[in-house]
C-alpha cells in the first residue's frame, strides 16, 4: 500500500467516481444523508479539473431535478441525480418516463429510515421501490448495491456503462451508513468511455429527426413497446447478475446480505469460520437483476439454510424465497428505524441454522 490513498466519505467518493467517469451534468435537491454528493460536486464545478462536468443545478424540487436529468440524458450526455428516500419517492414519476423513453441516467438513493420523513439512520427499506419498478407502469431497471467506500467510487462508472449499454435508468442504492462512512481508497483508473448515442436528440443537427417519447397512443404500439422493454430486461437477467461469495464452497448456512449488512456478515462469517462453523456469504452486487443463478447453484449444491440480513421489515427475503422455491429454509434477521444488528446477533442467527444449532434448540425445547 502506498501513502497517496484517499480518505473519503462514501458520498464524496461517489461524487468523485462520477466525475472521473466523465459526468456531464448533475441536478439535485439536497437531502441528508446524501448531501455530501451535491456538496462535493458543487465545490468541483467550474474549477476546471473535470472539464466534461458542464452543468450543476440545485433544483427547486426533486421533480425539477429528475426532469432536468431526463432532459440532459436525452442528448446522450452523462447525467446523474442523487437523493434519499423522500426525494426518491418524488423522482419515481420521472424514472418511469425515463424507463419508457429508454434513457440512460444514474439515480443515487442513499437510503435513510422511513416511511415518511423517518429519520437519518441507515435502512434498506427502499429495496422494493428500487428493484420492482417504483414508478407507474410496468418496467424494471438495474440496481447496484455497493458495500464499501471504494465501491461507492467505482459504481458510477459501472452504472453509466450499464445505463448506456441497455439504455435504461440505473439506480445506485446505498444506505446512510455507507454515505457517511469514511474509508481509505485508491481511485481506479477509469478509461474514458464513449458510448453509442446515435439515438439521442441532436436539435436536428444533420437533419436527423429523433423523437424520444413515452406516449404510444395506438394500443398495439404500446404493447410492442412494453414487450421490448421486457425482453431487454430478460437479456439483462441473463447477462448482468453480479454477486460476491465468501466461504460458500462447503457452507451449511449461507447469509445473503448487501450494503452495510454485508460488512457485518463478513465479520460474522470470519468469526464463525474461526470456530469451524461452516457459514458463508452471498452478497448481491446487482439487486436487480437479483443474482438468482448463483443462489440456485448454491441450493443445487446442497445449501439448505439461508439467512437474509437486511435493514427493513423483510424485502429482499421475498426474492430469496422466490429463488429457493421451498428447497431451502429461509430465515431473516431484520432491523429498522436506523438500528443495526450487532455482528454477534448475525453470528447467533446463522449458527442457529446449522445442524448443531438445530440440535441445541431441540434440546432446549425438550428441557422446557
Amino acid at each position: 500500500m502506498n501513502a497517496d490513498r484517499d480518505f473519503l466519505k462514501g458520498n464524496e467518493a461517489l461524487a468523485y467516481g462520477a466525475l472521473r467517469t466523465g459526468l456531464n451534468a448533475y441536478y439535485g435537491y439536497p437531502i441528508t444523508p446524501s448531501s455530501e454528493i451535491p456538496e462535493t460536486l458543487a465545490a468541483e464545478f467550474g474549477r476546471g479539473t473535470y472539464p466534461e462536468f458542464r452543468a450543476f443545478v440545485q433544483a427547486a424540487s426533486e421533480l425539477e431535478a429528475i426532469n432536468m436529468t431526463i432532459g440532459t440524458a436525452a442528448t446522450g450526455a452523462k447525467a446523474m441525480t442523487a437523493t434519499s428516500g423522500p426525494g426518491f419517492s418524488l423522482k419515481q414519476e420521472g424514472i418511469s418516463y425515463a424507463a419508457a423513453m429508454e434513457l440512460p441516467l444514474l439515480i443515487v438513493d442513499v437510503n435513510r429510515s422511513g416511511p415518511g420523513l423517518g429519520n437519518l439512520g441507515p435502512e434498506q427499506s427502499d429495496y422494493f421501490q428500487a428493484t420492482k419498478g417504483g414508478g407507474h407502469g410496468g418496467y424494471r431497471n438495474i440496481v447496484l448495491a455497493p458495500d464499501s467506500v471504494p465501491e461507492m467510487a467505482l459504481f458510477p462508472s459501472l452504472g453509466f456503462e450499464l445505463a448506456f449499454r441497455y439504455r435504461m435508468p440505473v439506480i445506485l442504492l446505498a444506505d446512510a451508513f455507507l454515505g457517511q462512512l469514511k474509508e481509505d481508497l485508491t481511485f481506479p483508473e477509469v478509461p474514458a468511455r464513449e458510448f453509442d448515442t446515435s439515438w439521442a436528440v441532436t436539435g436536428a443537427r444533420g437533419d436527423h429527426r429523433h423523437v424520444l417519447s413515452s406516449l404510444h397512443l395506438e394500443l398495439p404500439d404500446q404493447s410492442r413497446h412494453v414487450e421490448h422493454l421486457r425482453s431487454k430486461y430478460e437479456e439483462i437477467v441473463g447477462a448482468e447478475q453480479r454477486s460476491e461469495e465468501i466461504a460458500t464452497a462447503d457452507a451449511e448456512v449461507v447469509i445473503v446480505a448487501y450494503g452495510i449488512c454485508a460488512r457485518l456478515a463478513r465479520a460474522a462469517v470470519r468469526s464463525l469460520r474461526d470456530r469451524s462453523v461452516r457459514v458463508g456469504l452471498l452478497r448481491p452486487i446487482t439487486l436487480a437483476p437479483f443474482p438468482q443463478d448463483r443462489l440456485n447453484a448454491l441450493i443445487d449444491g446442497g445449501v439448505r439454510n439461508l439467512l437474509v440480513v437486511e435493514l427493513n421489515s423483510g424485502q429482499m427475503v421475498e426474492d430469496v424465497r422466490l429463488v429457493a422455491e421451498g428447497r431451502a429454509r429461509v430465515e431473516s434477521l431484520e432491523r429498522v428505524g436506523g438500528l443495526l444488528p450487532s455482528s454477534g446477533e448475525v453470528e447467533a442467527a446463522a449458527e442457529d441454522l446449522t445442524s448443531s444449532g438445530d440440535l441445541r434448540s431441540a434440546l432446549e425445547a425438550m428441557v422446557q
Binding site: M1, A3, R5, F7, F177, Q180, L181, K182, E183, D184, R263, L264, R266, A267, R270, L340, S342, S343, G344
Partner: protein
C-alpha cells in the same frame, strides 16, 4: 493487527476532527482505516460519537462493538465504558471528567486536555485568543504516547496530517495543533513513566 477506537464527547469539542486525524494518521502509516461519525442535529452541545478502525488487513465491519481504546472527552462519554475490551484503555479528558467509574480490568489514562491546550496561548495565531479549543489535539498526542510511539519519528507525520486537513485559512492553526499533540504526548509519556505498573497496552498505533 487491528485497533478499534470509540471517540466520544459533545458537539464543539472537535471529536470528529480528532477521530478524523487519528484515522488519517493510521492511513499514512500504511493501514486500512474506517471512520464512522454519529451525531445529532445540533452543531454544538449534542452527543457525538465516532468509530475508528485501523487494520493491516481489509476491514470487514466498520462498526466498533468492543473498542481497544475509548477516548472520553466528557462525562456522558463514559456510557460507552461497558463496551471497552478487557485490558483496553480508557483515555479521559480529566479537565471535564473528575471521577472515573471503576473497572479494574482496563487501563485508565487521565489527561487534562483542556488545561494543557489552554497553556499554549503563545502558539495562538490570533494573539489573546483562547487555545483550549486544541484539547482534541492534546488527546491525539496522548493516543500516540499510549501506543509508545516515538515523538521524534511521528512529528513529521502529524504535521502531514494537519497539512492535509487544515488548509487555506485554517493552515495558520497548524503550529498550535502540533504543539498541542506534543504537549499531550509528553504529559502522557511522563504519566506512564511514573506509574508503578505500566502494562504494555494492546494497541500499537504504528505497527511497522
Amino acid at each position: 493487527m487491528k485497533t478499534e477506537v470509540i471517540v466520544a464527547g459533545h458537539g464543539g469539542q472537535g471529536v470528529l476532527e480528532l477521530a478524523n486525524w487519528l484515522a488519517y494518521f493510521h492511513l499514512v502509516n500504511g493501514r486500512h482505516v474506517a471512520y464512522t461519525p454519529s451525531y445529532g442535529p445540533e452543531t454544538r452541545g449534542g452527543k457525538v460519537k465516532c468509530y475508528v478502525v485501523a487494520s493491516d488487513e481489509p476491514i470487514d465491519s466498520p462498526i466498533v462493538e468492543a473498542p481497544d481504546l475509548l477516548i472520553a472527552m466528557n462525562i456522558p462519554s463514559l456510557d460507552y465504558l461497558p463496551l471497552l475490551k478487557s485490558g483496553g484503555t480508557l483515555l479521559v479528558n480529566s479537565s471535564l471528567v473528575q471521577e472515573v467509574p471503576g473497572r479494574s480490568d482496563v487501563i485508565v489514562v487521565e489527561v487534562p486536555a483542556i488545561d494543557l491546550a489552554a497553556a499554549l496561548a503563545p502558539y495562538s495565531p490570533v494573539p489573546g485568543k483562547d487555545t483550549s479549543i486544541a484539547a482534541n489535539s492534546v488527546m491525539l498526542g496522548a493516543v500516540l504516547a499510549i501506543a509508545h510511539d516515538d515523538w521524534a519519528r511521528e512529528q513529521a507525520l502529524i504535521e502531514g496530517v494537519f497539512r492535509h486537513f487544515l488548509t487555506d485559512r485554517k493552515a495558520a492553526y497548524i503550529p498550535l495543533n502540533v504543539q498541542a499533540v506534543k504537549s499531550g504526548f509528553e504529559f502522557t509519556s511522563r504519566l506512564e513513566a511514573s506509574s508503578v505498573a505500566s502494562p504494555a497496552p494492546p494497541l500499537a498505533a504504528t505497527a511497522r
